[in-house]
Symmetry: C2
Subunit: 345 residues, 2 copies
């Protein structure tokens, strides 16, 4: 039998959460992780869906993330910086704890930041960006990664794929959201080319001597390149400065030193900047939300797409029809639930 199964969002959540609970995660860690994994599947973003469960379990098994971590909020009254120490657990749990205080502080001050420290970063930044926009706020989110990207002109990997994400709230539509790596390609894409025996496109990578290469093996031994040449390289460097050094957490080279591999979820910090369009626009002509809709209409009317639309379309389908999983995927979920940490190397 190889029939597909349709699970409701709630049913998939229950299954994923049970796997994490079985593997020893406490309720808060398991709940937050399950929410982002189910959000990935719901949005047909398979690379951030149930496929990621094993990586999370491997990181637990390797002792590089604390399954029973209890994040601690430092509301830091009187400041525009709210801090959450993740206690060595997953960033997602810490984010859930900090978000209401960040939203309240941003509404009061106009702009505020949430710093997450000592966390294992897991999955994409868009679930967090979207959560901030749900509070009616704009969000700018960034964090480092493992050092696998060479700054433009350099020969050594010093930057991570350092994701940069942004969101703007919309009243009658899913938010304007982008979330991308500041490298040309993801490391996984290079690995896929290697397995398929295919050459890389030009401009993706350099070899260990710093020369351009289209050979995936040489690229994996060398470094990936930033998107957009020196401009993307500068943004990647900015993310090391703001999303690692400024917040007193590990840089991409330090993350790689600490883990010794890129196969486990990375341990570092995260910076979320939230802004209240209402506070910024106060006293000025025009409603910022209505004006943004005019911009979006013009972009779509001119033939371009808004980012994340494929995810939002898939979400709509999942919300009515449920999430489709293959028989192999269901079996995999059953196996992970059955074996717990023994299911992973």
């Amino acid at each position: 039998m190889t029939q597909d199964t349709h699970l409701t969002i709630a049913a998939l959540h229950a299954r994923v959460e049970a796997i994490f609970r079985r593997a020893g995660l406490n309720e808060r860690q398991a709940g937050a992780l399950s929410r982002v994994i189910v959000a990935g599947e719901r949005d047909a973003c398979k690379s951030h869906g149930i496929y990621r469960i094993e990586g999370a379990l491997r990181t637990v098994k390797a002792g590089k993330v604390k399954p029973d971590a209890v994040p601690v909020l430092d509301a830091n009254e009187g400041s525009a910086i709210v801090k959450v120490n993740a206690d060595g657990g997953f960033a997602n749990t810490a984010f859930e704890l900090g978000l209401p205080v960040l939203a309240e502080r941003t509404r009061a001050l106009g702009i505020a930041a949430l710093v997450i420290n000592d966390c294992t970063h897991f999955s994409a930044l868009w679930p967090e960006v979207e959560a901030v926009t749900k509070a009616g706020l704009a969000a700018l989110v960034m964090c480092p990664s493992y050092a696998t990207v060479a700054p433009t002109g350099g020969t050594r990997p010093l930057l991570g794929t350092n994701p940069f994400a942004f969101g703007w709230p919309r009243k009658n539509a899913p938010p304007y959201v982008f979330d991308f790596a500041t490298s040309v390609a993801a490391r996984g894409e290079i690995e896929l080319h290697r397995r398929a025996g295919k050459k890389l496109p030009e401009g993706w990578a350099i070899d260990a001597d710093g020369n351009p290469t289209t050979d995936p093996e040489a690229a994996l031994a060398g470094a990936m390149l930033p998107f957009g040449g020196h401009k993307g390289s500068a943004i990647g460097t900015m993310i090391e400065l703001l999303g690692a050094i400024m917040i007193g957490d590990l840089t991409s080279p330090e993350v790689l030193d600490y883990l010794g591999t890129t196969t486990l979820a990375p341990f570092h910090g995260e910076l979320i900047i939230a802004m209240s369009p209402e506070a910024f626009a106060k006293g000025r002509p025009g409603d910022p939300f209505a004006r943004a809709e005019q911009l979006f209409e013009a972009i779509v009317g001119g033939g371009a797409r808004l980012p994340s639309q494929r995810r939002f379309a898939a979400r709509k389908v999942s919300e009515t029809d449920g999430i489709k999983l293959t028989a192999a995927e269901i079996e995999q979920l059953d196996r992970l639930l059955d074996k717990g940490l023994d299911a992973v190397a």
Copy 2:
């Protein structure tokens, strides 16, 4: 006689300021404009130096900037947003008024924003970024421009060249600073190709039908493209949202409608976000400034360059040897001083 002249920074400032005073700018407008123009010449950044004086004068003559504007500060006590209304004058004057309050607010709250409204934007963003770093703070600065750039996949110019700038303070070196257009190329570069009868590199522009073109004429009638494909396009869109719509000021299409040309300095707003590395890093291991130096050393040690180094090297020369101007440039300054607004069309 075609001998070069060396002027001290102060002497060049006095000459430029006299030109602006003669053209009817009040002391504050003339002073702030002269400081950024002289900074451009000092850093051998000729495209932002005395070459720009005529554009400023043309904008005054066209009635699109108020020469006797007096910016008004709204310190907005209790908020993390400091506002300056430029009163229809140049952004630089408004920035000078707002900076001390922004710095104080950022030190108190950890993160704060300076919004400049109703200003004519002039020259580059790096003078402002550098001024924030001098206060020991990190800065993120952005503003729209004229609509000359099509979002990726689109056929119509809807975005500006929307500059994005960042600075990080360094204790014993000039700051880490980048400041770039989010288009692949500047509009001036396309114009230079047109005059030289040269084809454009691929990927710079599309024609009026949205097709890729290497013909400068077709590009000027069509649109420029964002840097880095859909990622740069997303950042350019973010700048319209944050640096125009959120702050209640004109977007790039609105700027072009208002001016009817790209030859005058653009009228819009500007967003400056400042962060205190000391406040963010408080209670965490490691000094953020020392850790940043390790990152910069690794970048340079790996063969890459830090941005803005050419400017800083030129600055050092100018500070000791003065600023070298050609006889034609000196004549031009004399002519502008002599004729005032009659010197420009």
